[in-house]
């Protein structure tokens, strides 16, 4: 796959010099993560208000302290937890990391959340949203200042069941990208319609020496190559 094809990944390098791809999370997921967190905070405040209502002036003071603490330290506390994400973010499958993919540091978490004051200007997080729409890595201003990035959590790959076909050696050694594509075809074969599967296998028929032909028989041979690539031998 050509490197310059358009994608949302941010390339990072670990201190050991390993290049990694981070999948930056954009506005659609982050808007809803924020809304969920907002609702959770409101819920907590509502319950607290019911309790402190009977305490008079002291209750009001406690309420204000709680409001302050929730507004400023709710995201920090959750981002520094082992999930690296607030409950809203976890629901949407995203978390906060440093630019190089490492877990977020306390200083960075505090910076990005204090800088929400800049993002929420002029109203309803206008500047933050604008920044998320216009920046390639979808950072809001707080992320820019703290060198943090909101990324999608890597998900465990779904379990695949492959049809059992006789393994078949490819006619010539395949480059890595093509090996991956042939195996991906075999893994997703059950989710494609039969005619579409034959069409795709026909495109890759040369790996099994069936250039220009297609059909169920060719498909089985191409899937056989996938089995061989995965290490199965007859």
């Amino acid at each position: 796959m050509s490197q310059d094809a358009l994608d949302t990944v941010v390339h990072a390098e670990t201190p050991e010099g390993i290049a990694i791809e981070l999948k930056a999370a954009g506005v659609s997921s982050r808007v809803f993560a924020y809304l969920l967190d907002f609702l959770i905070r409101m819920g907590v405040l509502y319950v607290a208000a019911l309790i402190t209502a009977v305490m008079g002036g002291l209750g009001t003071a406690l309420m204000l302290i709680l409001w302050f603490a929730l507004e400023w330290f709710y995201p920090v506390a959750f981002e520094l937890s082992r999930w690296g994400a607030t409950p809203g973010k976890r629901t949407l499958g995203i978390k906060v990391v440093m630019d190089n993919g490492l877990p977020i540091t306390p200083a960075a978490s505090i910076t990005r959340n204090l800088l929400r004051t800049a993002d929420l200007l002029p109203a309803l997080y206008g500047f933050g949203l604008l920044s998320m729409l216009l920046r390639r890595d979808f950072k809001r201003l707080g992320d820019v200042a703290a060198n943090t990035l909101v990324v999608y959590q890597p998900k465990a790959a779904p379990k695949v069941t492959m049809e059992d076909v006789a393994p078949l050696a490819p006619v010539r050694p395949l480059p890595q990208a093509e090996q991956v594509a042939v195996i991906a075809l075999a893994a997703r074969a059950s989710r494609l319609t039969a005619s579409r599967l034959d069409e795709l296998a026909g495109l890759a028929a040369w790996v099994s020496g069936d250039d220009g032909r297609s059909g169920p028989a060719v498909t089985r041979r191409v899937l056989g190559v996938a089995q061989w690539l995965l290490g199965k031998r007859a």
Partner: protein
């Protein structure tokens, strides 16, 4: 259609990630998209704003109604950009039958009310199907992903809302001393005619900025759907690898 000519990297993504890919595409080809979109949208918005004389709520409503129709120009530019072609106003003009005048009534009625229109618009506009096959195809693309369409529509609805209020807030802050209105004047039932107009203007500016990103996010969902249903990413790889 040559899938290997697609300028975006296809891989199975979660639907929110697919929407982000759309946003990224829109950033990348902003020049083409905004040139063709604004050439159509600005005259429409001026006409809409002119209806302020009839009723103060009419401009906002008219612009809101016009969105699915305006989206077609954006999608035209985006779909070409996905294959690495740039679009000029002349290209849109030459394709006006297909872009502007086809499916005109549905754009203004049924699709205006559809909360998942960003997902299905590419099927209607780009796949060239008619009648029953089109209905079945839309059903297939939508199945299980209607929620994703609604989610993206509401996310960008919220973005629009936030940006309209941001613009209004800026106007209030920077209003000269003595002209700063109270909230009653802006949102109240009586008076404040000029602030109603400022609101309509803020809405026009927001739609001018955000709509291409919204359409692009839907286009991203649609591309991801084709990866799921037709394994476009695998086809892309095979076609590139083919010894010719």
């Amino acid at each position: 259609m040559r899938v290997d000519a697609l300028a975006v990297r296809l891989r199975p993504r979660s639907y929110v990630e697919a929407a982000d890919l759309g946003v990224r595409l829109c950033q990348h080809v902003a020049r083409s998209v905004y040139a063709s979109y604004l050439a159509v949208a600005l005259p429409v918005f001026v006409l809409c704003l002119a209806t302020f004389e009839v009723a103060s709520w009419l401009p906002t409503f008219a612009m809101w109604m016009a969105k699915p129709w305006l989206d077609r120009t954006i999608l035209f530019a985006l779909s070409r950009a996905a294959f690495g072609q740039s679009t000029t106003v002349a290209d849109v003009w030459n394709a006006q039958r297909e872009v502007w005048w086809s499916q005109l009534i549905r754009s203004w009625t049924q699709r205006r009310l559809s909360p998942w229109r960003c997902l299905t618009a590419p099927v209607y506009q780009l796949e060239g199907l008619r009648g029953e096959p089109q209905r079945r195809r839309v059903q297939q693309v939508r199945s299980g992903k209607t929620g994703a369409g609604i989610l993206v529509t509401s996310a960008f609805g919220l973005v629009e809302l936030a940006l309209v209020f941001s613009l209004l807030a800026l106007c209030v802050w920077f209003a000269p001393e003595g002209m700063r209105p109270s909230l009653d004047v802006i949102f109240g039932a009586e008076g404040g005619g000029e602030w109603r107009f400022v609101m309509a203007l803020a809405y026009a500016m927001t739609v001018a900025l955000v709509e291409p990103f919204y359409v692009a996010a839907g286009f991203g969902l649609y591309l991801n759907r084709r990866v799921e249903l037709e394994a476009w990413d695998i086809e892309q790889e095979f076609r590139r690898a083919q010894p010719e």
